[in-house]
Symmetry: C2
Subunit: 373 residues, 2 copies
Amino acid sequence: MPKGFNFTVEATDGRARAGTFTTPHGDIQTPVFAPVGTQGTVKGLTPQQLADLQTQLLLANTYHLYLRPGDRIIADLGGLHEFMSWDGPILTDSGGFQVFSLGEINQITEDGVQFQSHLDGSYHILTPEKSIEIQENLGADIIMCFDECPDPYDRKYNLDALERTHQWAVRCQKAHNSNHQALFGIVQGGIFPDLRIKSAQYISELDFPGNAIGGLSVGEKKTEMLEILDIVPEHLPKDKPRYLMGVGTPYDIVQSVARGIDIFDCVNPTRLARHKTAITRYGRINISNQIYSTDDRPLVEDCTCYACQHFSRAYLRHLVKSNELLAPVLLSIHNIHTMLELTSNIRARILKGEFQAFLSDYLSIYEANGDQQ
Amino acid sequence: MPKGFNFTVEATDGRARAGTFTTPHGDIQTPVFAPVGTQGTVKGLTPQQLADLQTQLLLANTYHLYLRPGDRIIADLGGLHEFMSWDGPILTDSGGFQVFSLGEINQITEDGVQFQSHLDGSYHILTPEKSIEIQENLGADIIMCFDECPDPYDRKYNLDALERTHQWAVRCQKAHNSNHQALFGIVQGGIFPDLRIKSAQYISELDFPGNAIGGLSVGEKKTEMLEILDIVPEHLPKDKPRYLMGVGTPYDIVQSVARGIDIFDCVNPTRLARHKTAITRYGRINISNQIYSTDDRPLVEDCTCYACQHFSRAYLRHLVKSNELLAPVLLSIHNIHTMLELTSNIRARILKGEFQAFLSDYLSIYEANGDQQ
């Protein structure tokens, strides 16, 4: 572990783990869910509101911040923590996923990826070395190896891409100079168990301070994702945190913790909020529905979040119908609270040795509702 | 004064007054600036953030809330305070101004105004009695007489409209039944001193618990507005609060307090925030300007607001350029803080007998900057 970092597993329950990941900006109690602040802001929320929600870890996107305002500007302004006024732990991705999903790819070579900005069409090249340089300029606590995230079903493409991702991991490790950032490796391999095992073994041997699983929740079936999650964590070091990138829903998180995952991030809570949708433990509510127009109950009866403690469904529906800015703000507060409360609750159950009971209760209620969101 | 209301002038300095207006939802220290929550929400801000800003009074718009979600729904949900989760004093306007500025007017008669909704084209009739009924359903602490706001330069129209406004004031007073709301009268009369004096005398004689000046800052010249403000307050009762509707800028407020006004409201702080603009004591800043891209200073160096205490101009510019929701939120926090600090500062100076010195300092700095915004 780099200086200032430490990971301790405090309890296990089946394959589920409760741990503490120490970073230079504070401890993270795992399992943990990280809200996403793509452009250096969790859409609509102040850092004060995020702290009030007991947010432990934020994710920001290297691709977006590199293109605008630029990682050098952020470095000159004191780094990302200072820039966005967030004193807690931050994780940046490598930019790889966004280059492949948002940018217009011109060329992928062994060296890296040439792409056009989705903002202005300008040309850029992202290589493992460049990704690390950008992430060092941003200064997040946890940074990620530059990887390729191919179509999960295309075996031939996955074979080639996996080779590149592994070589790039080695190059990222060599390029990484800062001693206050933990560089995580990333396992790829699509829906193919043999490729996933090969990748997990390769990445594990590089002895990163943490390991991530990428390329899931990108279009494959839920059963296929769970099948991969049944295999991969077992091939990753037990004494390092395991991060499942871009996942997910309450259901995904419960199922993934059961398979040994410690860290999650997902845009869902804020994206759904902008689409008028509240996350509850067992399904979603579209608050624009007419049936809520005179409903004086909170979104979720026993929820302790600021939105549920102060506002009725009728008020939230009114905000949504009036296109008011406060609608996504309050729904984001509720949705993030729901995710953080879920992981905090899971952690408490693991520490008490009650996770297996929690899991079977959860799944039975969830499946009874017929909603796996 | 109705039960639960009281107004005391604690100090005067020239024509400027510092007072306390007691309402059933708390005391208002005057001069006071009320942020506007048109649809039952100050755009983008939670009631917690408004309380942190030491907001004393909020304005909400009868026209908007009548059309959506409907005043009966709000009444059934416990009234506007409960609906928007704001425990402090609220003022609602009569709907008159919006009917004339937003609705499509079909007919103005002595009885009232027939108009079409700006939302769906549906037909509605607003009369003095209907306006009071809606405002009683909403349940604000301060409610307003239904009035007509004509072109300030059209003398003939103003003569007719003033007659209606005065008759409507009498009808509003008769229709007003609730004993926990203070109904304010409104003085009209365009830019014509004789009409304004006539109106102030007529409205004063009706002995409302407070009096407002409407129909200013609606397109007339600044000097014309100040000329009217030199005359009207002197013809209104000294022992009742005086409210200048829809005004204004820092300059307008300083000048109006100097002429005996106690209460202000304006959409400027939040509207300018949505247009990337920060209010400062002596002018405006458009934060999208390229010159701020690497500027590590806060919006205003000595400002104590949350935005200035935590974020650089460079970060705010980044938010604005990225169309992030947090941009109008932070700029609204700064802008509202600026207005509330200004009125609080003015009040402190009046209490110390230093307002005349403050006024001449303010005007000399303001005029040196050549910016009367």
